[in-house]
Amino acid sequence: MSYILNTPDQQAEMLAAIGVSSIDEIIQRQIPQDVLVEGLLDLPPALGEMELETHIKQLAALNRSDRVCLMGGGAYDHFIPAVVDEITSRGEFYTAYTPYQPEASQGSLQAFFEFQSLICRLTGMDVSNASLYEGGTAVSEAVFMAMRCTNRHKRVVILGSVNPEYRQVLQTYTKTLGTEVVVIPAKNGVVDPAEVTTALNDQTACLVIQQPNFLGCIEQAEELCTAARAVGALAVVSFDPISLGILTRPGDYGADIAVAEGQSLGTPLQYGGPYLGLLACRNEFVRKMPGRLIVQGKDRDDKLCYMLGLQTREQHIRRDKATSNICTNQGLLALRATVYLSSLGPQGLKEAAELSCRMAHYLADQLQTVPRVTLAFDKPFFKEFVIRCNQGVDKFLATARDLGFNIGPELSRFHDSELLQDGVLVAVTEKRTKAELDALVSGLKAKLK
């Protein structure tokens, strides 16, 4: 394939206008001879569109996403209304750049302003930024933000029930800064607020919790936020956006910064990315926020318009003093979330959350009728739960796969001492039907006798 438009004649005219004899001359007058590539690189041979499509289809067929998805652990198979794909596949959105020229980008700017507005309503927070990379880095960005807000840089407390990958990212992000990251282990699925209170002190920048937590269980979020604020630390909550259809909002129970993996809001699984990092906070902290922000204002004719705001926080102006290094964000996924939330509305979100929750509880009940399968914890959960299987995790999962179901991940995968090594996560969304779940359970019963 070639995407070049200029004909040899046109190229010759252009070379003449430049005053050189060849493109090689332009290159050789600028790049030292001894570092030029001789000949061609060693890359796979070029394919035409049709051959590429055949090739990629063959490879895609090796990926077994055709089974019923009961997988979780930070990415979920929620339903995506067609309108999300239709709107976001418009070239006017996906082939535009960051809206640096507001007059030529009102479409993106207004959509992102609406995104911020919807996220505020979803979370009960005052201000949302226009997106971060994904849920894991969002936690780290929130921690850095909390350090700036509190001017405490030495110590952070995080629950062991927070997604292990998010905790690993935080370890990576803070390693060279020498910040102490204190992890409070979960017991029987949740963390004891009393233990957290003991760990918090006046050097602590923030407490990071996840609600529902990585094991699916519901933490005592309000008590935890209150404990953090009692020592002047910020309460950082990583939430599941779908859960807010039925659960109380971070802003309602005292979160100072709410972050999330926003994938569930209309972004397909696509093997882990691009996803959507959400970050929203209380008004008083807005100037310490990382990432792009859209503001509403007026143009010179006094007409309503939208533009980038508080840019002096950002790297292109503040350079090494910026609140984050983020430049390219996850705009198109923010647009997906905007259309998704518009389409679901309050009632749709409630239905999706309630359906996920009830289906998950139904499956949890039924799975316990399978020989030697038990629920790991007896705590309330939302749409995800941990099971243990005495017959061995591998055998259980292989049997489920044979029956046409992908379950997991198994907790041992994360090499994390905070997690039960023989546990397996099971996640259920509104997409699952009773018939599917019954087929799984009866199949397991028959095969795992």
């Binding site: 063959q58 082939t95 535009a96 659960l247």
Partner: protein, 490 residues
Amino acid sequence: MRNTTATQPLFDFSAPGRRATEFPAAAVPTKSLADLIPAGALAKEPPPLPELAEADIVRHFVNLSTLNMCVDTHFYPLGSCTMKYNPKRHERLSRLPGIVDLHPHATEDDSQGMLAILYEMQQMLAEIAGLPAVSLQPAAGAQGEFTALLTAAAYFRDRGEKRTKVLFPSSAHGTNPASAALAGFDCVQLPPTNTGFVDLKQLQAELDESTAVFMVTNPNTLGLFEKEIATISKMLHDVGGLVYIDGANMNAIVGVTRPGDFGGDMMHYNVHKTFTGPHGAGGPGSGPIAVRDFLGDYLPGPVIQKTETPSGVRYSLVTPKKSIGRVRSFSGNVGILLRGAFYLRTLGAAGVREMTEQAILNANYMKARLQDVLPVPQGELCMHEFVASAKKLKDEAGVTAMDIAKRLLDYGFHAPTVYFPLVVPEALMIEPTETESKQTLDAFIDAVKEIVVEDPDMLHEAPHTTSVRRPDEVGAARNPVFCNTACGPT
């Protein structure tokens, strides 16, 4: 023809009871929610989202989309951003079943096809960089910079060296210093130079045993290749430091020269620029990094490994031996990496070289034809972009780079990047890319030539034809409104 009703604030279309997505009732016998969820955690009502009908949603967003300029509709010569054509076949392929619906925790057995594509991408990026070890993890260029700096920090720590300084030229992109600071380094910016090139004496003066990394964009942000890059690299290596190549401008050199060959030890790609992952109105991107073999053990995990066994080829996810750890969840911005991989697979080795050459040709042609009205202070020739200056025009007629940029919108062209790099006064950074025809370039050149002789007062007021005029940024900053006024913690 513009439908201003449809582009009113989204919330204005809300009416009680309107629906666009409905789900069935749960057909399972479970207890009520109140019995499943503790009272304190259960919301009394769902969040106050707007209640909208699908017809309104569609009309609203479709009309909003028409207020954007984009590559599909306009020439978009935004310097440093590589706004090239985004092939439609990439969109179709990345939405295939097996790709778009693959869960990131799928077992290795269940994701061999995906891993095969990503492994090949890793190898292609290593070959293009001339640097053997690649991590696909970083979500964008800035995260690539940060990740590479942490990789370097781990390497130095392992050797028992305490190196605290990261250096960069004053023409560096803002993410370079921001990433260095985030990684815990002290930032040292070299003073601006007249030539636009790194001044070796200045650099030498800053080099010592505390120097960790020199970050340099090559070609630099003026669109010029740092001729002395090999010497610069030797100077860094002599004091035990490393050279980081900011690969935002790779579109100028792919297949022509390689960072690993001209002395770079680490680099990032912006797949959303060079390899045409679309920009998505601000993202997502993908910023994989490539590093020398002795740094490979420190890369973030997981990386993709290929093993040939008697029963066939097997791909697996492994964490390098001395890995810095994770920098994000899962395995990178796969959707963008795939589009980049599709692009490279359709171009092949000759195609990528042609891409680079034609990007260089288009930029030099524009430069040659524009410099009599907009002088280009640095560089006789350029690589894939150039930075013109409107300083003379500003001094003589009061017309600024911003005025020209805004007026270009009226002519149906997206504006170049303005006021970057900071080392050029009244900078207009122009990057045409290879996917534009001479006709388009000529039309843009003609427009600039008309604009520079237009009435300055009219130019200060430009644009005149867009959906809104210049925003009052000062006014908006005074009392900033971040969300629909009716929102907030109600």
